[in-house]
């Protein structure tokens, strides 16, 4: 008999937070937090991409802002250093006319021994509306989301090895821009999938959009277990992995991986998995090459490819701002009062109008 002793996430977190399992959608199915691409329904993803469409033009105008988040406070809470992601979130929030505060927490309160949730409480007391969170530990944004008052939102800007949902959404945006339909595409994700939050978020996002041919490419030391059950094909040779691919997503190889027992050297990695013009010949002639940045030229990608005609790496960055604007505006406009709270308010006030 299958034991079912414990409450499920649905019953434990859902009603308590007024949110569905996954902690990111409210009862109306709208985006309340963005924590992961896992569990995002396809229509919602399409709505995010369509909203981003509308923001692309904003960036090309002389006046690059719209007043959607005027008066709202967005706190960029980076417990782990990142210039690029923080900057794009900052630009996105400013283009929405929000007040943006950048906090490099690694250098301040936690160093003084303040706990993560104390930090959050303090900032919430400063009337934060949205927290954009990056943390070295997987799951940290869930801890924050569970803790917050119902009118405050969390956008995950990267947590440990777990998720980087806005990166995955901008990857989807880029693929859709160049390729249109998702279902017929062959997509290869190459590199350090084990340690990559981008890879995890891309996998969930691409599967949600109906990609059927999705490959994970890398040496066995950098591939997690459990990929096949998700519907991925695992390839240990680059040329097999990218054979006939429409889209190649290269992952950054962190330097610290070289120090452990995972890889012998950057040179050997490049010889086997570096994307060179020669290797690229195995992919479709019109394939696009993506990279979440920052790139290690000569480690995972050859400069000739990074700067070549197949590369869409810089457009990814531009699209990233529009996609982050879409996410920030959507979470901020999710109704502050959920249906559950309304019900609670009604039951708590007998005699109130039915």
């Amino acid at each position: 008999m299958e034991p079912a002793l414990r409450p499920t996430d649905e019953t434990r977190d859902g009603p308590a937070a007024g949110l569905r399992a996954g902690l990111q959608l409210n009862e109306a199915g709208e985006l309340h937090h963005l924590l992961s691409t896992e569990g995002l329904p396809r229509p919602l993803i399409e709505r995010i991409l369509a909203t981003a469409d509308g923001f692309i033009a904003v960036g090309t105008r002389e006046v690059k802002s719209v007043p959607l988040l005027r008066g709202r406070s967005v706190f960029n809470l980076f417990f782990e250093n990142s210039t690029r992601t923080r900057t794009t979130f900052e630009i996105a929030a400013k283009r929405l006319s929000a007040d943006v505060y950048n906090l490099n927490i690694a250098a301040s309160s936690t160093a003084k021994g303040e706990s993560l949730l104390d930090t959050i409480d303090n900032l919430t007391a400063m009337q934060a509306d949205i927290f954009v969170v990056r943390h070295a530990q997987g799951g940290a944004p869930y801890l924050i989301a569970r803790h917050l008052a119902p009118h405050v939102h969390v956008v995950n800007a990267g947590d440990g090895r777990h998720a980087h949902p806005t990166q995955a959404l901008l990857d989807l945006y880029t693929i859709r821009h160049y390729k249109g339909e998702f279902a017929p595409l062959s997509v290869a994700i190459v590199g350090d999938i084990l340690n990559s939050r981008v890879a995890r978020s891309d996998i969930h996002a691409l599967l949600a959009m109906g990609v059927r041919d999705l490959r994970a490419v890398g040496p066995l030391t950098l591939l997690p277990t459990g990929l096949e059950p998700l519907g991925l094909r695992v390839c240990t040779r680059l040329q097999d992995g990218i054979a006939g691919a429409d889209v190649i997503i290269m992952l950054r190889l962190q330097n610290e991986r070289m120090r452990g027992a995972l890889l012998p050297s950057a040179q050997e990695y490049f010889r086997n998995y570096g994307l060179t013009p020669q290797a690229l010949r195995h992919a479709k002639p019109d394939c696009i090459v993506m990279h979440p940045g920052p790139m290690n030229r000569g480690v995972e990608i050859d400069s000739a490819v990074a700067d070549g005609p197949h590369s869409v790496i810089l457009p990814q960055v531009s699209f990233g701002i529009a996609v982050r604007m879409a996410v920030l505006s959507m979470v901020a406009s999710a109704p502050r009062e959920t249906a559950l709270e309304r019900r609670r308010a009604e039951t708590a006030a007998p005699g109130a109008a039915p």
């Binding site: 008999m1 034991p3 002793l5 414990r6 409450p7 499920t8 996430d9 434990r12 977190d13 996954g22 902690l23 896992e38 706990s115 993560l116 949730l117 943390h135 530990q137 997987g138 799951g139 940290a140 869930y142 801890l143 947590d159 440990g160 090895r161 777990h162 998720a163 939050r197 995890r200 997690p224 277990t225 459990g226 990929l227 059950p229 998700l230």
Partner: protein
Amino acid sequence: MTLHLAIEHARVIDPSSGRDAVADVYIAEGRVAAVGSAPPGFRAQRVIDARGLVVAPGLVDLCARLREPGSEGALRGEMRAALAGGVTGVVCPPDTDPPLDEPGLVRMLRQRSREAAGARLYPLGALTAGLAGQSLAEMHTLSEVGCLAFSQPGALPADHNTLLQAMRYARTFDLPIWLHPVDATLVGEGVAAEGPMAARLGLPGIPVAAETVALHTIFELQRSAGARIHICRLSSAQGVELVRAARREGLAVTADVAVPNLMLTDQDIGYYDTNCRLDPPLRSAADRAAIRAGLRDGTIDALCSDHAPVSLDDKLLPFGEARAGASGLETLLPLTLVWAREERIGLAQALAAVTCAPARILGEDTGTLEPGRKADLVIFDPQEGWTVEVESLLSSGHNSPFAGCRLEGRARYTLVGGEVRFER
């Protein structure tokens, strides 16, 4: 105060004999005087009407951390938690602060335990000095002050020669060694069982090999050195199979498993629930099934709570930073009953895993209702429903992976040495 006590009309379950029948139990001089009819001349000073209740030997928990020495004053609360859980004997591992590697510390701990008048305390001595895994602790001296066995909690000593010599030395005095089958190098940064769940959550994984490599090492050294070995807290199907093979081969091996590994899987981590940050980690449904089969067929002797009080501050953290462990003393009995119900095992057989089987591993004469033995027993209502509310736990650790669960079975009276030390 011990007195002459009669427990009437109880459903008496004695796992050591398989007895399960309504009868009266008579207690005198701290011992079980008779089950059935009163001994000649017995005059009860107190009578407990136990109609509808079960009388069974008190639970013997093979692993409960009392956090003393280290957090002074903690022991009393944990002992209350034990009694409230129907636990009359607790084995305290030596991973205290400082570790139990000196006779003075063990004497002090036992003294505090006597003052607390809780469950019986069975301290384990440190296998190596300071638990550093390098030089042997004074095992024989520690055994003279009451350490029943010697343990190296957490993981095997990195130096296998130390482990080999520790086994030889322990065998000299016929002292058992308790080991956690964990190879620290294979655990690395891991915080959850390696597998699809950890991969999905991006949590560093602990491979099954961390357990199996350690078991191979233990058994291979045991073949050379002798020594009686108790394997603490199996977590994997492969681990259970290795223990089964070792027993079949005739090695002097016993084993236990912790309640969470018997009841839960890594899926229970959900969205980073730090209540499920446990050591050993929760593994797959197949591992849980193998553990259940192993406990049922006797490959695994005993079920323990693996009680580890952890402060809320240490749990309100990202999963990877949260401290491993959970309160377990107060839920050991009802969860044993859940296991019995789900696996359709008779109460007598199920309770054996928390009474006579662990007592046998300790070489103690408790865990039975046989006349003449110490009257350590629990009287509980097997039907009494209650919800695990972590705030109400008597332990200082207000967290449990079973928080919010509706359970059945709760101690009404807990007796140690014939004395009613808890009742509700």
